[in-house]
């Protein structure tokens, strides 16, 4: 598992402690019952803190799954920081 994936998994596990490790990578708003607006804010804040980034507010609407956030971290955020995470 890459470092980015491991750190992102840790963020998800902290915010959604009921998620089994195997389910984290497929987590999304549709599959995680407790993923509501408050946990979205908590999750994104934890990720911002963990990766030292600021999410672009316009991107928030599509950050509704583990994979979407991973993609954002490895592409959009990486590009905006001028390097790789």
């Amino acid at each position: 598992m890459s470092d980015t994936r491991a750190r992102l998994t840790k963020c998800f596990s902290s915010v959604f402690p009921g998620l089994s490790p195997g389910d984290v990578s497929s987590a999304s708003v549709e599959t995680v019952e407790v993923w509501d607006s408050v946990s979205t804010i908590t999750l994104l804040t934890v990720i911002e803190e963990e990766f030292g980034i600021q999410f672009d507010m316009d991107a928030l609407e599509r950050l509704t799954s583990y994979n979407a956030i991973f993609e954002y971290l490895t592409q959009d955020a990486s590009v905006s920081r001028g390097g790789s995470l």
């Binding site: 902290s14 402690p17 908590t42 804040t45 507010m57």
Partner: protein
């Protein structure tokens, strides 16, 4: 603490049936991560307790406060920000910052602070309330440049200062120190504009963490240390007395020794507030007594007891002081300029808090003063604080008299002329009762502690009673020294708490209290919620004498059983009216 660490803390599993700590949070902001940090800090300070935080309606702080406290005794946290006093002082509303509007904003703020003070005055009578006054910067509403304090800003701060002063007079309210908060959370790094605009949560994570940390501490209200043992040379004063002589030691600006004077000043303040202060010094005793005759000493000699001045190891002096005080090492701080002596004392008394007094670093010496204030700080000073030292001295001289005359214990107690005064009430307002419950270790029924909130809640049971006892004899008053709390059910009296100060040992006060309880209540048996703790040997021994066996857990003793085993008491027992 990072947010992810707070979440991890909250993931720790608690034992089944863990007690819960309920907090009512009143604020006008969206509390979001503040709640997470607050729960995490409280979980650290109250291990094994589940922390439940209830919140109110967004944007209505005053309403949220007014709705609190109607139902039951509780622990309440109030987080106030400028926008709660007038929404135009926030950044989510566009009501205007025009110069013509500023007087109206100021007037609204004054009205709102008055409304809040009234509401807090009401709920603080039955609840413990932690209050945070505005922590965020005032927005650029005034027409003056930011580096100049405007009349508008001064007016806002005046209104909040008046609120703060009014809250300080309420015993149930504890306000977070803005000075301490500024140290751990710089004002310029507190507002998170993006978060406030998008979610209504205005704090940076670091500020939310710092504010939650202080809020949790203020709710925990740790027990103050009981005694401070200090070295003399290069600690209480500058210079080695044996080398420079009485006139060579100093504690003033002229001799570049002001830090020692400040240290004396703090010790004098602590002593007057009830902290025990003793000396452990390797010195010539006669020379030290002579040095204490110098008129300019800030710490008077009569505030010090005992003074262990000798050439032996400091750890042995500390042992004798602990014995004279009859307190555990974990209640004591030892201050010395010698790392070697500190290490020697720490090795012999691992539970003692050892602190280095810096001989040559004024900044470090000042930090020590602040730390000592934290370790010994208390909510209020009671009459018992004032008599603690004199009663210890009296007990010490009584023991010496007994030793010198060779009196039997019976004769000594008969001659003491003791008087035990008991007060039965259902009013837990006397803070001394809770103080004794929370700081007594040795004569303690079960080691159970209370917060102010849970203590008040305990007495919401109509069957609950509180017994607070004071004692005095010809050697002087001991003050309020024992607390019993329980419930009467038919012919059984159930005791949930029973503590007695170690200053009151060896007078058979425990026998007198139980005797009076049986007589007053008419109960045929007493049920004790007893459990063994690492340090409650004295109460265990007392029960073992009555039961002819050491109890392991909750037990019941009949009046007849007690009468057959109790010791004779020689003091008079009288009841005082409810205070």
């Amino acid at each position: 603490m990072k947010l992810i660490e707070a979440l991890e803390e909250l993931r720790q599993e608690l034992p089944l049936h863990s007690p819960g700590l309920g907090i009512d949070l009143a604020c006008g902001i969206t509390p979001l991560h503040f709640v997470t940090f607050l729960r995490a800090h409280l979980r650290k300070l109250f291990p094994g307790q589940e922390v439940l935080v209830r919140t109110g309606i967004y944007g209505d702080l005053a309403g949220n406060v007014e709705r609190l406290g109607d139902e039951r005794a509780a622990t309440i946290v109030v987080i106030l920000e400028w926008q709660d006093l007038d929404p135009r002082l926030g950044i989510r509303r566009l009501g205007g910052w025009r110069p013509s509007q500023l007087p109206d904003i100021l007037q609204t703020v004054r009205l709102q602070t008055g409304r809040l003070a009234d509401a807090l005055d009401r709920i603080a009578r039955e609840n413990t309330v932690a209050v945070s006054l505005p922590t965020l910067p005032i927005p650029p509403a005034a027409f003056t440049p930011g580096w100049q304090a405007s009349a508008f800003e001064s007016g806002l701060r005046e209104a909040v200062a008046a609120l703060s002063a009014r809250l300080a007079a309420l015993t149930g309210v504890r306000t977070i120190s803005s000075q301490r908060l500024e140290r751990i959370s710089p004002p310029g790094s507190r507002l998170d504009v993006k978060s406030e605009l998008n979610t209504g949560f205005p704090y940076t994570l670091a500020h939310a963490d710092a504010l939650a940390d202080l809020t949790a501490r203020i709710l925990k209200d740790p027990l103050p240390k009981k005694g401070l043992i200090t070295d003399l040379d290069d600690t209480l004063w500058k210079g080695i007395l044996g080398e420079v002589g009485i006139d060579g030691i100093a504690w003033d600006l002229d001799h570049h020794a002001q830090r020692h004077g400040l240290y004396q000043q703090l010790l004098a303040s602590l002593a007057e507030a009830g902290t025990l202060v003793a000396i452990a010094s390797k010195n010539d005793p006669a020379l030290v007594e002579e040095a204490f005759e110098r008129a300019s000493l800030v710490l008077p000699r009569q505030r010090i007891f005992p003074a262990e001045v000798n050439w032996g190891p400091k750890s042995a002096s500390v042992s004798r002081i602990l014995k004279a005080w009859n307190v555990g090492a974990d209640s004591v701080v030892f201050v010395d300029d010698s790392p070697l002596d500190l290490a020697e004392v720490k090795q012999a008394h691992p539970e003692i808090e050892c602190r280095l007094f810096s001989r040559d670093d004024d900044q470090a010496a000042y930090r020590l003063l602040e730390e000592l204030r934290d370790l010994f700080g208390k909510q209020l000073i009671t009459a018992d604080d004032d008599i603690r030292l004199s009663s210890l001295r009296a007990a010490y001289s009584a023991a010496e008299i007994k030793l010198s005359r060779g009196d039997s214990p019976e004769q000594f107690l008969q001659d003491a002329g003791g008087k035990l005064t008991v007060n039965f009430s259902r009013n837990p307002a006397d803070p001394r009762a809770l103080e004794l419950i929370n700081k007594t270790n040795q004569f303690n029924l079960n080691g159970k502690r209370h917060t102010e909130g849970s203590w008040k809640q305990y007495f919401s049971d109509p069957a609950a009673f509180l017994l607070l006892a004071s004692y005095a004899d010809k050697f002087g008053p001991l003050g309020k020294i024992a607390v019993m709390a329980g419930r009467k059910n038919g012919t059984t009296v159930s005791i949930d708490h029973w503590v007695m100060s170690c200053r009151a040992f060896s007078r058979r006060i425990e026998h007198g209290l139980l005797l009076h309880l049986f007589e007053k209540s008419g109960a045929r048996e007493a049920d004790f919620d007893f459990s063994v703790t690492p340090r409650n040997g004295p109460i265990r021994d007392f029960f073992a004498g009555l039961l002819e066996a050491v109890p392991a857990e909750r037990f019941t003793i009949s009046r007849r059983q007690f009468d057959g085993k109790r010791s004779t008491v020689y003091f008079e027992i009288q009841e005082s009216a409810n205070e």
